[in-house]
Symmetry: C2
Subunit: 224 residues, 2 copies
């Protein structure tokens, strides 16, 4: 099986994405980035889920806090007032550009030509780097940025299989592929026991997705 | 003065690039990345040179060793046999994609729209991500990847003022702008005292540039 690199956080979307890569016939290599997340819980989940799915997991450390400008890297408060209009403060400047750049470098060392990213343009919470135009622009960049492409040994493709799916459709797809959603973690602001807050954008979108998909929500919520 | 982000290593090219950004009328903000270089000497030089030039310096840590695949991150030996054909082992997979991604994120937090990168397509040592096609593709990406661009608050430009210059022309330009080349550091494999090896690709291109420019080479070479 040809290798593919899957950007992976242990969350609902990226775990579904990994299952899709395998369904597409690839041997998925998960790449997680420790980028100064407020909670290490996300990476704990990534390790557990990758092990369960039998995918090798590589973790790269990157101190995005030094760049700043986001609630997810500690500069601003995570909002709890519901999913609003516009681009939220949980946006991390240029995050997916950097993450796909790392995935591209890793792919080149693995002789992989396929990158998977679980971005989503429907329930996408307003992030600019989760849109089709972004994915297409990165694919073009990848094919001029690397030795493997320039020397004709690779033609990179950026797969974003969740791009046009609603959260409910993602959950339906993953459920069909056997994704262990109970192990995945989505909350931006879990309690000390790692239970989901149930109130941040990510929790709200996830819970609504399970409701709309008619799939029982296995998430453990904080009683707070 | 409008801010600009300059990718900066304290080397000859990026220091010249910073001087050009200032000459262009920007207030340059230097961004250096600690990416698992074999030698910390490069960042020492970056700090000294940025201080001398009065530019704020931000250092971001990124463990590119985890991605692997390059002599510059410790996986392979730095070659000393002269500048050969093809893409050398000092190529770091997708490095400039990741570095420009970080510069883009930093620019967004500074409300800067201008990125400077000291890549060079002439004496470029064979790196694919030092070519005009790469710079153009990244600029296109930047303008769909960021909140500032999508909301119409920014139109990003990637400046690569050294792109079409020979090393000698870069040195002539920088000498005119008062770049303190004696403080800059280019060697891939310095000795324990920080003196340049004189034999790696980077040393050879630098020394040849000074010769061709007719500028005295201020580099301190190792007696080894």
């Amino acid at each position: 099986m040809r290798p593919a690199v899957v950007l992976f956080s242990g969350g609902l979307d990226s775990t579904t994405c990994l299952a899709v890569a395998r369904e597409d016939g690839f041997a998925p290599h998960a790449l997680a980035v420790r980028y100064g997340q407020r909670h290490a819980r996300e990476l704990d989940a990534a390790e557990r889920v990758a092990r369960m799915l039998g995918a090798p997991l590589k973790i790269v450390s990157l101190d995005l806090r030094a760049v700043g400008g986001s609630a997810l890297t500690g500069d601003l408060e995570v909002p709890k007032d519901g999913v609003g209009g516009g681009i939220p403060v949980t946006y991390v400047p240029a995050r997916n550009t950097v993450l796909l750049g790392l995935a591209l470098g890793y792919a080149e060392t693995l002789d992989a030509q396929d990158l998977y990213i679980g971005v989503n343009a429907i329930d996408y919470s307003g992030y600019p780097d989760c849109r089709p135009a972004f994915v297409e622009a990165f694919e073009k960049l990848a094919n001029v940025a690397t030795a493997a492409a320039v020397e004709g040994r690779a033609r990179y493709r950026v797969h974003a299989p969740l791009l046009q799916l609603s959260k409910a459709q993602i959950i339906e797809l993953g459920t069909r592929l056997g994704v262990p959603y109970a192990m995945t973690h989505s909350c931006y602001d879990p309690d000390p026991q790692g239970r989901a807050c149930g109130r941040c954008d990510s929790c709200r979108l996830r819970a609504q997705g399970f409701r709309e998909a008619g799939v029982p929500d296995p998430t453990v919520y904080s009683p707070r």
